[in-house]
Symmetry: C2
Subunit: 369 residues, 2 copies
């Protein structure tokens, strides 16, 4: 696949760290929430090997926050998600699919509860702010909604504990998964969450001060030398192996949460009121006819720029691959695909056309690792 340069503009926002990641050797970008998100440094495979062994600092400012505060904020946040938040606690992070009136997916943010009347939705790539504003206006809710100037630095990889402890103190090692707390470094306080878009363990630092964040970026590299720290970014190979789903890639507003395997976050028996609840009850009762599964393809290369069709031996559609990459671990192409019902058996075989050649593959369960 030929490479095409991305044309920067104010509309594809740079982050406070863009100059720094370019100095550290970013080699490609994607765009996420109207913002530049690094996609590779040395190479996808080299970044992957390093991430699994050491520690990386990621510019994930593109994970924008939608701040919802005020008297009716809890009501609005609950209205947007099928996950029951009635017992949610301040200081915790909740992975929560957002659902529209049709029972279809809008986004899959991490919802951070800062106070009973203040929430940050750390969003995937769609304009949740306008969904929230529309719902708030339509329901005449007493809320304030805006995008705060928060630019996340993620510290990911097995040595992330050591690096974070060196900056923020040994206490940070005790922070539990999907909890957040404020920690101090050089007389400044930082919102630190035990989270991140890899399964290699790590933290996300929600930076609210651009200059402090830029200093912090540099300190992470200075303090991290002994742990072999490098600049990195969400890694396509690692995230597919771990089945970390991506809104817009693996699922979107044409899919419902059951099709995307979000069943455990769909609390239909709860007392809480959320959008699309009756639709989801019906969808559950009727049953789904397709769902996201893994695929393994006997080949060493795939370029994804739209979904690719999987066929059986009678040329009937088995499903559609939505994300895929070569995995150095499996020595094959692995991917995430929407698979039609008759083909849900693990080990179903299919054919796929890659650059005008036919390859074979098999359906499998997720995650790969």
């Amino acid at each position: 696949m030929k490479n095409f340069p991305i044309v920067k503009s104010r509309r594809l926002r740079s982050t406070p760290y863009t100059d720094r990641i370019e100095t550290h050797g970013v080699s490609s970008y994607t765009v996420y929430n109207h913002m530049l998100l690094p996609a590779s440094f040395k190479s996808l495979e080299s970044d992957y090997e390093h991430l699994k062994k050491f520690v990386q600092v990621w510019d994930v400012a593109a994970e924008r926050q939608v701040e919802i505060s005020g008297k009716d904020s809890a009501k609005l946040v609950q209205l947007m998600t099928c996950r029951d938040l009635s017992k949610s606690k301040v200081g915790k992070c909740y992975y929560a699919p957002l659902i529209d009136d049709e029972g279809l997916l809008v986004n899959d943010p991490i919802i951070n509860k800062l106070a009973d009347d203040k929430w940050w939705l750390s969003i995937a790539d769609s304009d949740v702010i306008f969904f929230a504003k529309g719902l708030a206006a339509g329901n005449k809710f007493d809320v304030e909604i805006h995008e705060p100037n928060v630019n996340i630095l993620a510290v990911q990889g097995p040595r992330s504990n050591d690096l974070m402890a060196k900056l923020f103190g040994e206490d940070v090692r005790q922070l539990k998964f999907f909890n957040f707390k404020y920690y101090e470094f050089k007389e400044k306080k930082y919102f630190v969450a035990r989270s991140g878009w890899s399964k290699q363990s790590g933290f996300e630092i929600y930076v609210e001060d651009n200059l402090a964040g830029q200093d912090l970026y540099d300190y992470l590299f200075e303090y991290g030398k002994e742990f072999n720290v490098k600049a990195g970014c969400p890694n396509l190979i690692e995230r597919i192996e771990s089945a970390l789903l991506s809104y817009g890639n693996d699922f979107d507003n044409r899919d419902n949460p059951f099709e995307a395997n979000f069943d455990k976050f769909v609390n239909l028996d709860s007392e809480v009121n959320f959008l699309g609840k009756e639709k989801l009850k019906k969808l559950k009762q009727d049953g789904i006819t397709r769902k996201l599964m893994g695929v393994i393809i006997d080949h060493n290369k795939i370029d994804m720029y739209c979904e690719k069709t999987l066929l059986d031996n009678d040329n009937k559609v088995v499903g559609y691959v939505r994300s895929a990459t070569y995995s150095p671990t499996f020595k094959k192409v692995i991917g995430i695909a929407m698979i039609n019902k008759p083909y849900w058996d693990n080990k179903t075989q299919f054919k796929i056309d890659i650059n005008d050649k036919i390859f074979v593959g098999t359906v499998c369960d997720l995650p790969f690792i």
Copy 2:
């Protein structure tokens, strides 16, 4: 500025024409509504010169449609915009700023009225569909909202009339600005509007059938040889000279419509009900303290990746440039900037830092041409 490749994925959707524009020599991309939008072919300047003399075919599929239909569709569409649509007619296109409850801008689509109960909002780069879905759910409106599979081909430039007439018949020359009608070519009907993101005159063909659109793309080049047709795209130089504003670049959800010079589309005295009406009345009464104006800078090059500050001789902030480019017509850098009130006088001078050197410029009225 160093070039960085864009990493394609399903999330940055290709269009039905992507293969074709790559064959025709697209040289860079931007991302718009989660879709690839070509940003240049031969070069910005060469594309510009050609566009002003001949005719170009543009893949602007990224101008997505939000279809709103059903009993309450007119009510919902009106609720979203400060432009009075009560006398709107089927077959006409309406440029209409969308406004939130705070009186701030959400988007600036062209609203196409297909029937009294069917509308296509041809949107700029923000997820209007979720704003519409939120408002519809909150107000319990009886509407259907979805993104239809429409992929626009624009035919732009002074010879666009000749090329379009050769395909669709002489009748198409009579189509008035911001009107649309269905025309036939090779036994297929196409929605054709007299519109487009240039001031060089032209049409937009709202293609509803991928295969027919791909054929049409090829026919436009075959029939267009005698008019020196080329592949093109919205051109940064031409659009800034013409002051065609870009959501996300020149204005966004932190700006109100008066600051963006949309006064004539803000119908506060109308009877119709729209979001933010009372806020806008107050904003108008209080008066604005900044607005979009032109700037001319004594230099031959500028790279924009975030807004740049303009200072007066006392280092007070004159304003912020949001879009800019070198103009071969003016032999200077021209741009669109948010200028603070004390500096609205045409010919106000300012200083600007471009790559660590200081250049001087002047404020001016829009458009440039």
